[in-house]
Amino acid sequence: MTPPAAPPPDPAPYSIPSLGYRILAGGARLVPLLVGLVGLPVAALTLLQSHGISLPVSIVTVTVAGVAISVLSTVRYIVRPTRAYGPVSVATSGVTLAYVLVLLTQSTYRISVPGSTVSIALGYARLLDLILLVPALALVAGLVTTVEDIVAPRERLPFDYPP
């Protein structure tokens, strides 16, 4: 009696792009991130400043936080196949959370219109409270991924990078 043939080995269950490709694609993602998180806010703040209107938050804060979040987000994309993905995701969300909390401490914007007696105060603390949900949920996701990578390394790769 002939023993049953052994099953053929599984083909590679996932297909991870090369590091060079991920760096290139990550760099391409960095551009719109910098435009959205740094370029547009700084342009808006500069416009206000040029009209003599006080700023709700300093340009330095927006630039530093925007660059940090954009770079961390890019790094997270590049290291996604590795065990560093979870911790970098947590770091990205943590920095975003800290940035929103800084904005929350200055969440009443007082504007005095130059050349007039008009003064306006706009509060947006409740909106920032809701925005806090976004990085908070992403932070939990990063923690879960970190745990998953410790408990079962490479388990997620077939689903993150299907063949």
Partner: protein, 270 residues
């Protein structure tokens, strides 16, 4: 036989669920902010319309400024807790009167009209008494508070200078030389003023002449029909009480018309 796709492990699905929830919250907030921005622009474009303002004498020794303020909210979100406070001060900072409206809710896609009625008390020696006889610049302070789109408390303040034209500007009571005939002393009294107000003065002006110790020496009534920007000048003989002197005396006048009696500030006689 079609192979079944492998089910992702539990931790992977949990992390994915949190990531997707985070993304959904972000998208919902972006859409919400976009609609709030649109609504705010529409609200600002439909600037408040004030109309039908008129000033006149009100009951209880007041000057009444009445009118209406129309606010349109063409956006998607209500303006809740809208309240408006107006305060009128004279140039030296003395409070003459104030007004509070609201709080009201302006629902989306509606126009709300607020009646405005501001009463400035002009009792003799009161802070607003000078409005009757002195042109002046008034400072109108406006405070508005509201919450827009459930999340955004907004407050607004501005000051505006308004020029006030007095209805009895340069009011003057001028007695002439008294004459005595048949035991009665009579003095010709000339009353003059300009009406710088935006309303006509139709009625009677009762003038009482007082001696230096405040004793009433005589009184007379002057008929008024003075249009805005009009000038009034009339002389009338008034009988004086026996032995009463107008030396260093004063005159008190009260205007009666439009259902109100308005005392004017006392005038020293020249």
């Amino acid at each position: 036989m079609v192979p079944r796709a492998r089910k992702p492990p539990g931790l992977y699905r949990l992390a994915r669920w949190f990531r997707r929830l985070s993304l959904v919250v972000l998208i919902v907030l972006i859409l919400f902010l976009a609609s709030v921005g649109y609504s705010a622009v529409e609200l600002v474009k439909s600037s408040p319309q004030s109309g039908g303002y008129s000033a006149g004498f009100g009951a209880n020794d007041t000057v009444a400024v009445t009118g209406s303020l129309s606010l349109s909210n063409p956006g998607f979100y209500p303006v809740s807790g809208f309240s408006l406070n107006l305060r009128i001060q004279n140039a030296s900072g003395t409070l003459l009167g104030n007004l509070a409206e609201g709080p009201e809710t302006l629902p989306a896609h509606t126009t709300t009209v607020f009646p405005i009625a501001l009463y400035l008390p002009i009792t003799p020696n009161g802070p607003a008494a000078s409005l009757l006889t002195t042109d002046q610049n008034l400072v109108l302070g406006v405070w508005g508070n509201a919450t827009f789109a459930y999340l955004f408390p907004v407050s607004l303040h501005f000051d505006e200078n308004k020029s006030w034209g007095a209805p009895f500007a340069e009011f003057l009571v001028q007695p002439g030389s008294p004459t005595t005939a048949n035991g009665t002393t009579t003095v010709p009294v000339t009353v003059s003023f300009s009406n710088h107000a935006s309303f006509a003065e139709v009625g009677m002006l009762e003038v009482v002449l007082l001696s230096s110790d405040g004793t009433a020496c005589g009184a007379g009534g002057f008929s008024l029909n003075v249009l805005p920007s009009g000038f009034y000048y009339q002389t009338q003989a008034i009988d004086l009480a026996s032995g009463c002197s107008l030396q260093d005396g004063s005159a008190e006048a009260a205007y009666t018309g439009s259902g109100a009696t308005i005392p004017l500030p006392p005038e020293a006689l020249p």
